[in-house]
């Protein structure tokens, strides 16, 4: 099957092609060889399985929430149970899915290959990261089994320290441990990108995927420890009652807010930046063009990381911060919105004079661009002080962050999984059904979350178990959308699993993409390269690729 006029997919002759016998999957056998591996690719696969597992648990909680909200009365479950649903949904989705999704799976798999190295700088620490993740996840499961926690994923004090009897400390411990998983991943990436680039790989020859992960890693390394200490203080306050957040003892509950959001705002950039890296790669490949304004996109990633550290109090505008500090944070929030806008336009203009095809990763990328634009612009609503007064703590916020995180990040994740699936597994996913899933997801997403913007402006508060009856129609629409969305997310599990055995053999470079990862076999060897490459061309050099493919013969198997 060769590329036609509507697809760039170029697969080897299926009657003779086979997946290479020697690759990182077949290199060693047995469960222990996976559980004690140092191979970044195997660790990436371990992560992929675990985060998918937690995604579905978090998704189940979302389903239960939407089910309850079909009716205005609190009639499906008790209020305490409902509060546990949204807390667990938030904790799992943020800490166990979104934060590690692209970096720990696709990033782990690809960053060493993209910089031309044999592995990350610290493979054992990489494995430790995964185990920390698993321990964190197990602790969350333990919380669930023991009866759940209902603080909200934001652990607001003094509610979480003095007024709840649920398993706050277990959850705090889970988040603490998972946080260190994230820190070590970031640390590994930074050292790898600094020290292990192959000869000729200058910073500005790196794929934008690497730049995005570099920026996200800075955030991981500098921000997550502050969350760790905030969580430790909450746990100590609960255990000993020292008064650090208790106003009757002279403490200040707002101190927790500052410590918590100092991490949790950069956290959202930790979540989105790797997804933006994926979009850069996908848009480039399916337009056959270098990303427009490479330098601007690279610097925008770093700018988002830097500015992202200085806007945390925009989560606290009405909470009692002084008017003047609110002014400063609002201004900085407006500034941090600009690099994201720059990126969207750069990606849009990458399409100009390209040669565009619409395979599944590209569909997800388009979905990202539309939904992230809406999500990001509604962020500007919230960064505007006066507007935030009416919109904060309502469903507008819920809609905003689901647009950027689910419409943005999750779509980018799916785009990346589909794009690099052939590289990671050696097999192609089935195109028709994957396109269907992408469209179903897009439709379901909009139906779920657009009504929530309206609900937010109407004033429906978030984390509400029951609501006034006049909000029901919009809630029903939202739940209907959620059902469609659920179908859209189930489909990939099914057909991706199917493809492992029955998918077409992919060959090295089914997308005819540039990038070092596409010049090696699929799936790669454990050591990635038989010989360390010397990089002698720019990133996204399609002319180099054309020259190269004109003169090569590929044997697969």
């Amino acid at each position: 099957m060769s590329a036609s006029s509507t697809t760039i997919l170029s697969l080897p002759d299926q009657s003779t092609a086979t997946v290479p016998k020697k690759n990182y999957i077949t290199a060693e056998h047995g469960l222990l060889s996976w559980l004690l591996t140092g191979d970044h690719k195997r660790i990436a696969m371990l992560y992929l399985i675990s985060i998918t597992f937690f995604f579905f648990i978090g998704g189940a909680f979302a389903g239960l929430i939407r089910l309850e909200l079909l009716t205005p009365q609190p009639d499906l479950v008790a209020s305490d149970t409902y509060n546990k649903f949204f807390t667990m949904h938030g904790v799992i989705m943020v800490f166990l899915f979104l934060v590690p999704s692209v970096p720990a799976t696709i990033g782990n798999f690809l960053i060493p290959i993209m910089v031309g190295a044999r592995d990350l700088a610290f493979p054992k620490i990489n494995l430790l990261s995964w185990y920390l993740y698993v321990v964190g996840g197990t602790l969350v499961l333990a919380t669930m089994v023991l009866g759940g926690v209902d603080t909200g994923w934001t652990f607001t004090t003094p509610l979480s320290t003095h007024y709840l009897n649920t398993h706050v400390i277990t959850t705090a411990l889970a988040v603490f441990v998972a946080g260190f998983s994230s820190i070590f991943t970031g640390l590994n990436f930074i050292v790898t990108i600094h020290r292990m680039r192959c000869p000729g790989m200058t910073w500005f020859r790196l794929p934008l995927f690497v730049w995005a992960h570099y920026a996200a890693s800075i955030l991981m390394v500098l921000g997550t420890p502050v969350l760790a200490i905030a969580i430790v203080l909450v746990a100590l306050e609960r255990l000993i009652g020292i008064g650090v957040f208790d106003p009757t003892k002279g403490g200040d509950p707002l101190l927790f807010q500052h410590l918590f959001w100092f991490y949790s705002h950069p956290a959202v950039y930790i979540m989105i930046l790797p997804g933006m890296g994926v979009i850069s790669e996908v848009i480039s490949t399916f337009s056959r063009k270098r990303v427009f304004g490479y330098t601007a996109v690279a610097f925008s990633s770093v700018a988002i990381a830097l500015f992202g550290f200085f806007v945390w109090a925009h989560h606290m505008f009405i909470m009692g911060v002084s008017n003047y500090s609110a002014l400063v944070f609002s201004l900085l929030t407006m500034l941090v919105a600009v690099p994201s806008a720059i990126k969207i336009f750069n990606w849009s203009f990458t399409l100009q004079k390209g040669s565009i095809t619409f395979e599944t990763p590209m569909l997800y990328a388009f979905g990202f661009m539309g939904l992230f634009t809406i999500g990001g612009l509604t962020g500007v609503f919230l960064g505007s002080l006066g507007m935030d007064i009416h919109l904060t703590e309502t469903y507008f916020i819920v809609a905003h962050f689901h647009f950027v995180m689910v419409g943005g990040m999750l779509m980018a994740f799916l785009s990346g999984v589909h794009f690099w699936w052939p590289k990671m597994t050696g097999r192609m996913y089935p195109e028709a059904i994957s396109k269907l899933a992408a469209v179903v997801t897009f439709i379901g997403f909009n139906l779920t979350f657009l009504p929530q913007f309206i609900l937010g402006y109407l004033g429906m508060p978030r984390r509400y178990h029951s609501y006034p009856p006049e909000f029901q129609v919009l809630n029903v629409l939202s739940t209907a959308g959620a059902t469609v969305l659920g179908v859209g997310y189930m489909l990939p599990i099914l057909y991706l699993a199917w493809s492992l055995k029955y998918g077409a053999v992919a060959g090295n470079n089914p997308w005819q993409a540039t990038g070092l990862e596409w010049q090696i076999q699929s799936p790669p060897l454990t050591e990635n390269f038989t010989e360390i490459p010397i990089m002698d061309h720019e990133a996204y050099d399609y002319e180099w690729l054309e020259h190269k493919t004109a003169h090569e013969v590929t044997t697969v198997g």
Binding site: D80, H162, F292, N346, T357, G386, M387, S466, V473
Partner: protein
Amino acid sequence: MGISPVLWQFLVKWLNASALFPREASTIAPWMDELYFFLLAMTVVGIILVGAIVFTFSIRYRKAVHPVATQIEGSTLLEATWTIIPLAIFLVTFVWGALLYFRIYNPPVNSMNIYIVGKQWMWKAEHPGGQHEINALHVPTGRPIQLTMISQDVFHSFSIPDFRIKREVIPGRYSTMWFEATTPGTYHLFCTQYCGTNHSAMIGEITVLTPADYKKWTEESTSGMSLAQNGERLFASMNCNACHSGNAAARGPSLAGVYGSKLTLTNGSQVLVNEAYLRDAILNPSQHITAGYAPIMPTYQGQLSEDGLIDLVEYLKTLNTNFRVQQTLTNSQSDQAAPPASGVVKP
């Protein structure tokens, strides 16, 4: 407003009727909605722009009609354009939003003050005349109302969507906001900060009445003592009189006229005495010693509920002269046999 009032009215009424838009029931609501429509327009324009670019390029440059891509490095001009224009729009948003924020959170001088105490899971409203409401608030139209709010336990948030106002209600310190209602009717009151089990049940009704109806309501629902009167009884029963007797040789400063004045403290700093200061001085006296006095005032932390503190603050606001202080002393002596004032936390 920037757009035609006719169009504006049409927009708002139409939206209202479709149940997709809240009513505008306060003076600030139109300002809020104006900013909202600007931002909506910005979003629609933005998404149309991006959508148009993506769609046009996708169709025009799809592989079937444009099989060979042209490698383009970039364009500094375009980068500058789409940096500066969004930045300009966002900065306009910043200024507009900041102005609105200051407008909402800076009450006019002649506001009528109502206290709100939030606790899991109910709202208490205390009018200066002594009317107490639970999960409800009656207010007149045409008059600025300031809400001075505090929580007894965790963070709550007092939200009236139809007025477009909301503010966090914090344990340990007062937060304030104001509004002026324009249309009689009933409106939703929500707690919007997650506060535990019955967070979604911590709702109520704001009833806006015409001034005449409001006057009738205050007369019908007076519970006997105004907040200040209750505060006066507390002042006596907690023995504040012992040091704050108003005599020249008293151990504590005279409190006549202290509200609204500028005090110099022992550490040399100057403070404006408002409700927050008074509450803090009662609970943490050692940091609020007036210059020239010894730090001997005991703390009342744990002995007074937030309601009691509100009563005391209201009483102190009415203390204009020393005579009034003497009156309190005399009143308290005759109240010896009376039941203790409400607002004291029994140990």
